[in-house]
């Protein structure tokens, strides 16, 4: 098997199954009545933290490619992003159905009144267009440039999700801080690279470079 075949046939299914483990644990726990004294809280917290972890992992793919030169990593980005959306949806629905009893009024009041809900809700809503345009056809329809621009919304999701977590914690912000530092690093390297690239282009004043970077396939863009 070639590298690509190995990634597609073995690693990718393995990552897919691994992403399902937290969900499987919840279902299993619910069956056994083993989700603790407050199962709804367990479901909310588990789906919430896995959404954040998967968003962070998705955002980490591109910097990881730069660092390792393993372009094969790009093959996992869409799947990880969709799993982030999957857990985010469960997180939101648990809150909306079980905490708000499907009342849009209560949801709206919470979104407007409580900053941590505002952040969490924003993070989730911005994932929706990304999930909807995750197909190859959407990339063709939008064009690589626009698709790429749209999918930068995930940076806002990552930031909002971290703030959401930080503002929810009662006293100990150690873990939210770790996530905040990770997201800041992942977004920071992008800024740093963009600035460096612009300087290189400005310095060389060579129009051919601009053309060549625009000619990349959309999937390969950060």
């Amino acid at each position: 098997m070639t590298h690509n075949e190995w990634a597609r046939r073995v690693v990718k299914p393995a990552v897919f199954l691994a992403c399902l483990i937290p969900f499987a644990q919840l279902v299993y726990g619910a069956f056994l009545g083993d989700l603790g004294a407050n199962p709804v809280e367990t479901i909310t917290n588990t789906t919430g933290i896995w959404t954040l972890r998967l968003v962070v992992t998705t955002v980490a793919i591109t910097p990881a490619r730069w660092l390792t030169k393993w372009n094969v990593l790009i093959r996992f980005r869409r799947m990880l992003g969709l799993f982030a959306f999957f857990y985010g949806s469960m997180h939101f629905l648990t809150y909306f159905v079980l905490d708000q009893s499907l009342q849009f009024g209560g949801l709206w009041e919470d979104v407007m009144k409580r900053p941590y809900i505002t952040m969490g809700f924003t993070a989730f809503v911005l994932l929706i267009p990304l999930a909807l345009t995750s197909t190859q056809a959407s990339i063709r329809w939008l064009g690589g440039r626009r698709w790429n621009l749209l999918h930068r919304l995930v940076y806002i999701t990552a930031m909002c999700a971290v703030v959401h977590y930080w503002w929810k914690v009662k006293v100990d912000t150690t873990y939210p801080m770790y996530y905040a530092l990770t997201v800041a690093t992942l977004l920071g390297v992008r800024v740093w690279r963009a600035v460096a690239k612009r300087q290189t282009i400005a310095a060389s004043r060579h129009p051919a470079q601009v053309v060549s970077s625009a000619g990349l396939h959309a999937r390969d863009l950060p």
Partner: protein, 324 residues
């Protein structure tokens, strides 16, 4: 002071254990189903056999000859497991499961309580003796946490007022201050500076003398498990749970309002009074509703946690938005 009695509850009205255990099984199924719907996945199959979720600790000392109390609610009890595995007791860690996991390092016997301050009979007393001073009674109270969850727990204890009267506090004693044990070896969570240790709580004297205020030494017919604040703790059912200070080693009659730990930590979010109040939200989340553990949907929170008839008069004329 006029004390209105809550409706009496006859022994026959208390839900038999097997009924509420079955109800919990139903809720487990309901919970599973909701999760499956949420995930757009189908859950079929047979529910596994009943777990022994409501078993008590066979090694714990049992407390018997308990008086029944007219103040008990007739609502369905939460399970022993709920009450003893879902705890906020930061002295053993921040996770709700940490106290049950780590409170084994606490040594609740022998235990002495220092009584001091503005009173005629200060002193140091052994908790075993204190428990013999008063007839023990069972009180089934609602417990409402500031985090918007609640339980119904059968506590065992005696009125705080009876305890206080013994020491003949003077007219200068306008507040009662309570202090938890400070011992990093027994309470490893105290090595973390999340709160300023030891934990401190307080009540105004009229609150402390209210017949609903309880010093608890047990629950579900046995002595308090360590994670629930062994060997002696405060229960003030019309206030948020954090007022119910655990593992008390010091009771002080004081002139000034004590600075309780949570108020000291985040004064914008936690006050001295901490009366359950659906109209005053926590700055970050709503207090209008709560999740009773074991229930799927949230229920409405009642003013003073449903004890308004008995305690609202303590606060007449006070702006409870200001004194939250």
């Amino acid at each position: 002071m006029l004390i209105k009695k809550s409706p009496d509850i006859r022994e026959s009205e208390v839900t038999p254990r097997d009924v509420y255990v079955r109800r919990r099984e139903f809720l487990k199924v309901a919970g599973s189903t909701a999760l499956a719907v949420t995930a757009a996945g189908a859950i079929g199959g047979v529910l596994t056999g009943s777990t022994d979720a409501d078993a008590q600790n066979p090694n714990a000392q049992k407390l018997t000859n308990l008086k029944k109390s007219p103040f008990s609610t007739n609502e369905k009890l939460n399970s022993y497991k709920d009450a003893t595995t879902y705890n906020n007791f930061y002295e053993f860690g921040l996770d709700k499961g940490d106290p049950a996991r780590y409170a084994g390092s606490l040594r609740p016997r022998p235990w002495s309580v220092v009584v001091e301050g503005q009173c005629a009979k200060p002193g140091t007393y052994n908790v075993e003796d204190i428990m013999k001073w008063f007839p023990l009674e069972e009180r089934i109270y609602r417990l409402r946490c500031v985090e918007a969850w609640s339980m119904v727990i059968p506590w065992i204890g005696f009125p705080l007022s009876d305890f206080i009267k013994r020491f003949e506090p003077s007219s200068k004693a306008t507040y009662v201050k309570f202090t938890t044990l400070l011992d990093m070896k027994q309470m490893p969570g105290q090595t973390e500076p999340v709160l300023r240790w030891p934990y401190v709580e307080g009540l105004r004297m009229d609150e402390a003398m209210h017949p609903l205020a309880l010093l608890a030494v047990g629950l579900y017919g046995e002595v308090l498990p360590n994670q629930n604040g062994a060997p002696i703790r405060l229960i003030v059912p019309w206030k948020y749970g954090f007022k119910g200070i655990k593992s008390i080693v010091r009771v002080s009659f004081v002139e000034q309002q004590p600075l309780n730990t949570w108020q000291q930590t985040i004064p914008r979010e936690y006050g001295f009074f901490a009366n359950v109040n659906p109209d005053v939200d926590h700055p970050r989340w709503t207090q209008k509703t709560e999740r009773r553990l074991g229930e799927l949907f949230r229920r409405k929170t009642l003013p003073f946690n449903g004890y308004a008839d008995q305690v609202a008069s303590l606060y007449s004329g006070m702006d409870l938005r200001k004194f939250y």
